[in-house]
């Protein structure tokens, strides 16, 4: 089957974000971070050169998982945590489609953690966007697997006792070939990250810091507030040193123990800083970046890791083709008559 990314000879109609909007009323809370992610998604899809009917959005359960209803593509709002598995089945059966998975921190890391891990390690050609708001929103405010320790919520009135998971650490630990992070309201950055994810062949895992203004308002202010975010975040650029700050006067380097530390660029040369390398063969570099957490360290934004590896669906497709080339197209009569047969006369 043709690759989703190849364009056919037929001239495609020029689409706009509006062409990707469905007729359904959007039922997220006013000022929810999801709106911005939806808007950026509609903005990038027309630029991909993929016909609308070849794009599918698959989600699980949760606020984020209503996403497919608001897109005028093919879509499937499935069950809690299972979107990566549904998407895997679809992509393996139909490698010609571009398949997106929309999930949240509860859907993807709690009830569906297993499927997420396996989709990633198989490198199925899926674009997985995890809306991380560090809370269960749809069930009205319980702590999630990414809520910080001590978080007071409806189900943790005295503070959460669960050590949180880092979504990117999980993805990198599962050998993801593409890992990135952005913030819901950081429009330009988010657009760039979504475009990069769309262009990646294999599993692209993107964590989006998303503000749940009803149950967990302001959780990501450090990364979204104008003037402040530059002091709290490092915007990764491939091949460049890790510098940040309003005046780009701070950097991150590895100290003698191999630990990342913040240094002032007064006195430390840029060459001594940690340089970003998206394509590093070993995931250790990306993992180190993923472990940098605010406020102890600046948090990295952008593409952490982007390497090339054959995708699972492609491998399945090739195995089918190779087997046909080797044995010829399956013949039922030959199959039935294989092994020991005998004739009754």
């Amino acid at each position: 089957m043709p690759d989703a990314m190849s364009t056919s000879d037929v001239e495609l109609p020029v689409l706009t974000p509006k062409d990707f909007a469905s007729d359904q009323e959007i039922r997220w809370c006013p000022r929810c971070g999801d709106y911005s992610i939806l808007a950026q998604m509609k903005k990038i899809l027309p630029t991909l050169g993929i016909p609308r009917e070849k794009i599918v959005f698959i989600s699980g359960i949760g606020c984020s998982s209503r996403f497919p209803y608001y897109m005028n593509t093919y879509g499937f709002h499935t069950i809690h945590g299972r979107a990566p598995a549904v998407a895997t089945g679809l992509k393996v059966a139909r490698p010609d489609l571009q398949v997106w998975v929309v999930t949240g921190d509860g859907d993807g890391l709690s009830i569906g953690g297993n499927h997420l891990m396996h989709a990633i390690r198989r490198n199925v050609d899926l674009k997985i966007i995890m809306f991380n708001n560090q809370i269960y929103g749809l069930t009205k405010g319980q702590y999630s697997p990414t809520s910080p320790l001590g978080k007071r919520t409806k189900s943790s009135p005295y503070g959460s006792l669960d050590y949180p998971l880092s979504p990117l650490s999980v993805a990198i630990g599962s050998d993801a070939t593409f890992v990135a992070r952005s913030v819901d309201v950081d429009i330009k950055h988010l657009t760039m990250v979504l475009e990069r994810a769309a262009a990646h062949k294999g599993t692209a895992f993107v964590e989006v810091y998303q503000d749940c203004n009803v149950f967990n308002s302001g959780a990501f202010e450090f990364a979204s507030k104008k003037n402040e975010k530059v002091n709290n975040c490092i915007y990764l650029e491939d091949g460049k040193p890790l510098v940040f700050g309003a005046n780009l006067d701070k950097g991150v380097r590895l100290n003698g123990k191999g630990e990342a530390e913040v240094v002032s660029l007064n006195g430390v040369k840029q060459d001594d800083l940690l340089f970003h390398n998206e394509a590093a063969k070993e995931p250790a570099h990306a993992f180190k970046l993923a472990r940098m957490r605010w406020p102890e360290m600046p948090e990295a934004m952008g593409v952490f890791r982007c390497i090339q590896k054959k995708s699972y669906d492609q491998e399945v497709d090739e195995q089918v083709e190779e087997t046909i080339a080797k044995y010829g197209e399956g013949d039922l009569e030959a199959l039935f008559n294989s092994g020991d047969t005998w004739e009754v006369t």
């Binding site: 469905s22 069950i79 549904v86 992509k91 010609d96 399945v316």
Partner: protein, 624 residues
């Protein structure tokens, strides 16, 4: 059963028998499944009707010599039509004391008992909890024709000089036993010899050792005084044509691939390994050249949900599992019902609850399959009746799924999944076609596409991604009929729940009417489903020949039931429902038809014996 006939040119008596039941049993490392399979193949190739019952422990290698580690393979071969692997064993081969202890009770009085005398040492006797050697002491074996054969020693002698280690030499003794039984039943060993040559082509010394052991076993029977008579079973009078041996799991795989070919679609199989369903995954994963895409999922939930994704994409989608796995799939199956996507779920039932009896057969997941989901969540249920029938029912399940846009359960069980029978190789031209249509044009007013716009059978269209203009969203939330949009309206919900039920009920118009074996009215109707077919049919046939007023109704369609079933049940004074569970079909029949059905329930991990069913029928009919 037999009439002795002298055959010329034979050194020993050769007597003719109609049918024989043999059981090979030994330690799970003794190669008993292999010996049984080879005997089956040789007999099938000879033209006998054959039915098999492999019986193995859940542990791959329980401690050697222990009671828990006994593995057995029973088969019946016959010159007439048979439906079961037999009630009583005519010849029992026991490779050690544990095998003797656990199996001798099934050997009929006067039967032939062949033991590996060398294995009855102090250690093995202890492991089998024998205080004394039963071959020497007491009269527990007095009613049998006991043959004490020093198989270990004779096998070692036979393979001497081939440079095998003692362990390798001892592993050949199953072929010695097989050779002896081949002699006893006048079998042509050629297919087994060929099998050995092929199997061990890279290890010529092992091949030679097994061939020698096989020959030594035959010679032993011929030469020793111990065996005065041997027997032959003439070929059965099967309808002419090409045959092969098939197990239920193989037949399911063949049926699914055939369905895909008939529908001109690609097959997607998502599965997670589980006993006794794994062989379906194994078979299908070999068939990539049929365009089959197999996906070994991370768990049972991913198996069913990947299949849902594939079905959304337009593939013929299948998953298979057994009890615990089916339980995990429940939520996913509900999603498939809600989104009205076609797929097949094969449930190879085993003993439950929980992990239960993984390698033993049972029919106790009818309720799980029928009801095991949240909400009112109906779907069609089919049940295969024999290994070969799995071929047809797998196609039938897929046909109903795609033509009625619904997930379909196909129920089999460990007994028919692992059991084998001769299978007449079908003529492709005789198979029922399967129609798949994916719309390409809008069906709504203007240019809209309505994913839940139903036809007269209440079936919705199956538009697949990639079709321009038919973009739509599916989901597990209740939806508005027609548009498929999210809809929480109370009246709409009632309408949709009723519609989903009616859609399944209407499938009754598309399945055959129920037939009965025996008189179309009378005193007693025996109603069965699934694996017990053979035992019940044989039992009813037996009672009919004795002039009893009894008939057999075997259901292959359980939801919906055939349209005439209610009428049929009313034409007999009594209804008996033998099941390998506590009465699950019986409860459904009672609920649907208010019929006073009586259960006969066996929950021992084993199939019914014909004699048990006969006795139960006679008890129910009372003295005549």
């Amino acid at each position: 059963m037999s009439t002795a006939t002298e055959t010329e040119g034979q050194a020993k008596d050769l007597q003719e028998l109609e049918s024989v039941v043999i059981r090979f049993c030994g330690d799970s490392g003794d190669g008993m499944q292999l010996a049984g399979t080879q005997f089956t193949n040789v007999s099938a190739a000879f033209g006998n009707d054959v039915s098999t019952l492999p019986d193995f422990p859940a542990e791959i290698r329980a401690p050697a010599g222990s009671l828990a580690g006994v593995s057995g393979f029973q088969l019946c071969f016959s010159s007439s039509d048979i439906y079961t692997p037999g009630d009583e064993v005519d010849t029992l081969v026991a490779m050690n004391p544990a095998a003797l202890k656990t199996n001798v009770k099934d050997l009929k009085r006067g039967g032939t008992l062949i033991v590996n005398d060398d294995a009855f040492d102090k250690s093995n006797l202890q492991k089998a909890h024998y205080d004394d050697n039963p071959l020497d002491v007491g009269d527990s074996l007095a009613g049998y024709h006991l043959h004490r054969v020093p198989m270990t020693r004779l096998t070692r002698d036979a393979v001497e000089g081939l440079g095998l280690s003692q362990r390798e030499a001892d592993r050949c003794k199953n072929f010695f036993a097989l050779g002896l039984v081949y002699w006893l039943y006048d079998r042509d060993p050629k297919p087994t010899e060929e099998w050995i040559q092929t199997k061990f082509s890279k290890h010529p010394s092992i091949a030679e050792a097994n061939l020698r052991a096989l020959k030594a076993g035959q010679n032993y029977g011929d030469a020793t005084e111990s065996f005065a008579v041997h027997y032959k079973v003439a070929p059965a009078d099967l309808p002419p044509g090409m045959y092969r041996k098939i197990t239920g799991n193989e037949a399911v795989a063949f049926g699914l691939v055939t369905a895909a070919k008939l529908a001109k679609q690609e097959l997607f199989y998502g599965g997670y390994p589980i006993t006794p369903a794994s062989d379906i995954l194994h078979e299908l994963s070999k068939l990539k050249h049929f365009g089959v895409r197999t996906f070994q999922a991370e768990d049972e939930i991913a198996a069913i949900t990947s299949v849902i994704g594939a079905a959304f994409g337009g593939a013929l989608a299948v998953t298979a599992s057994s009890g615990p796995g089916i339980a995990l799939k429940g939520e996913g199956i509900g999603l498939a019902v809600m989104t009205e996507l076609p797929l097949v779920i094969v449930n190879v039932q085993r003993g439950g609850p929980s992990t239960g009896l993984p390698t033993k057969t049972e029919q106790s997941d009818l309720f799980l399959s029928y009801f095991g989901r949240n909400g009112d969540c109906p779907l069609p249920l089919l049940a295969a009746q024999s290994p070969g029938d799995c071929f047809e029912m797998a196609q039938e399940a897929m046909r109903i799924a795609v033509e009625h846009m619904t997930p379909v359960f196909l129920l089999t069980d460990g007994y028919i999944a692992n059991g084998a029978e001769p299978w007449p190789i079908p003529n492709l031209a005789d198979l029922k076609p399967i129609q798949v249509t994916h719309p390409t044009e809008p069906n709504g007013n203007g240019d809209g596409y309505l994913p839940y716009l139903r036809d007269e059978r209440l079936v919705r269209p199956w538009a697949v991604p990639g079709t321009p203009g038919l973009e739509h969203r599916l989901g597990g939330i209740e939806k508005s009929d027609g548009t498929g949009n999210v809809d929480y309206d109370p009246q709409n919900h009632q309408h949709m729940v009723e519609t989903r039920q009616r859609k399944i009920d209407l499938i009754a118009d598309d399945i055959p009417e129920q037939e009965v074996f025996g008189p179309d009215q009378g005193e007693l109707l025996v109603v069965s489903w699934g694996g017990p077919f053979g035992a019940v049919r044989t039992a009813v046939d037996h009672c009919l020949k004795e002039g009893k007023s009894v008939a057999h109704c075997h259901l292959r369609y359980i939801n919906p039931f055939p349209r005439n079933l209610g009428d049929l049940l009313g034409r007999y004074r009594k209804v008996l429902v033998p099941e390998l569970n506590m009465g699950q079909l019986r409860m459904i029949l009672r609920g649907k038809y208010l019929v006073d059905a009586v259960g006969y329930n066996k929950i021992q991990g084993k199939p019914f014996l014909v004699s048990e069913v006969v006795a139960r029928i006679k008890k129910m009919l009372g003295p005549t």
